[in-house]
Symmetry: none
Subunit: 213 residues, 2 copies
DNA sequence: CTTGACAATGATCAATTGTTCACCTAAACA
DNA sequence: TGTTTAGGTGAACAATTGATCATTGTCAAG
């Protein structure tokens, strides 16, 4: 494949990009308008050049029928090299029915995959996602219906944790000051602030929130 | 979504297959020829039905501009570990520098992978994620630093949209009552409610929020 | 100085393609 | 019996779109 001029590269990028955005290819006049050409023929020239250099293919006379000739043919434009490690996370519906300090995989209602860079968890741990029920954490901007990604690990003061209370898993703030016994705190001024914790059973620490709109 | 007739299902399947094979969408006469219709209007009728049932979308008057609207129900009962269909979403940093009504892929700062069942978007559309800056949507529970997953499509009244205002992409509520001209609305009582929209440039509709804790 | 690539204008043409109108058939329905 | 819904014919129309003509200008290489 030969070298492209700057303009040709721009056109090619635009075409790829247009398809990526819209799901179909641009017309010649779409390209013309994008670059502010006064004539469609300006586009035609570039397309002919790109065809000659075997960067694109077209069906003569037919509208919006491009084919991009990428040597590596990635489906999406420019997937960066830094292979992001992806965590595959089961979405749990109701984990309260499971073992007290374990997650019951039967409760899986879906899967969520988030890469590490974006959300910052460790792939080593077996993270899972929880659908939030209730309003106990609205002051921490976590709302009913949100999905919270939980990483099973020990909690530190200030962490938001998924914990078992009365046989039900809820989201609470974990508070531990000095050597005092830890307690849980709801982040909703209409809820009781403190939860008596006889047997503290923390499932894990919240690392991210996902909400469908 | 309503049930399709056999014929409608056949047409829909053909359109999808055609795109799969050719990389672009069929023209009406391509479909006509495939089914041996004597009139293009036979196709038109089915397309209208499919649009009414919200299975497809089209750009009126423009050639080969289909969009398939699947609720993404993979009909495989036995789903192997790795078989979950995953949407690979580029995370955009600053998209204002790109094309006026398009997203600049160079602005990619990461990737996010979310599967379809969990977040409920279509894999056909080219979704992308945006990092939210500013507080203009805090009353819709979207905060500074959140990542919002945007699906490029036309906005309806009440949607949260990513739109270009003053060369900057912001998140706003899209309001369109009846036949009145649409406008944008910030969801923050400290912000001006209405935005004067001379040239409304909607990048897409917000489908999900992802926040790292 | 000339040649050839690259880039673009402006006008025009023709094919492709989406759209619409009038009209038809058959089955389902109430 | 009339009515609706799905499916279809046939013709004509108009918008979109790709293709082509002649022409201009720049700039680097030979």
């Amino acid at each position: 494949m030969k070298d492209l001029t700057t303009r040709q590269q721009e056109i090619l990028t635009f075409i790829e990009h247009y398809e990526w955005r819209n799901g179909f290819w641009p017309s010649i006049r779409d390209i013309q308008e994008q670059f502010g050409f006064a004539s469609t023929n300006a586009v035609m020239g570039h397309l002919r050049a790109l065809e000659k250099k075997e960067m694109i293919e077209r069906i003569p006379g037919q509208a919006r029928t491009f084919r991009i000739n990428r040597p590596d043919a990635p489906e999406k434009p420019e997937i960066p090299e830094d292979a992001t490690e992806v965590v595959d996370i089961p979405v749990m519906g109701d984990i309260a029915a499971g073992y007290p300090d374990r997650v019951e995989p039967a409760g899986e209602i879906g899967r969520l995959q988030v890469d590490i860079q974006s959300a910052g968890f460790s792939s080593r741990r077996r993270s899972f996602a929880l659908q939030v029920r209730g309003e106990s954490m609205v002051d921490a901007e976590i709302y009913d219906g949100d999905m919270v990604i939980i990483e099973p690990r020990d909690a530190y003061d200030g962490d938001i944790v998924a914990a078992l209370i009365d046989g039900e898993t809820t989201l609470k703030r974990y508070i531990q000051k000095g050597s005092e016994p830890p307690y849980l705190k709801a982040e909703n001024k209409f809820y009781p602030e403190l939860y008596p914790v006889t047997e503290l059973c923390v499932q894990g620490v919240a690392k991210a929130v996902v909400r469908s709109l």
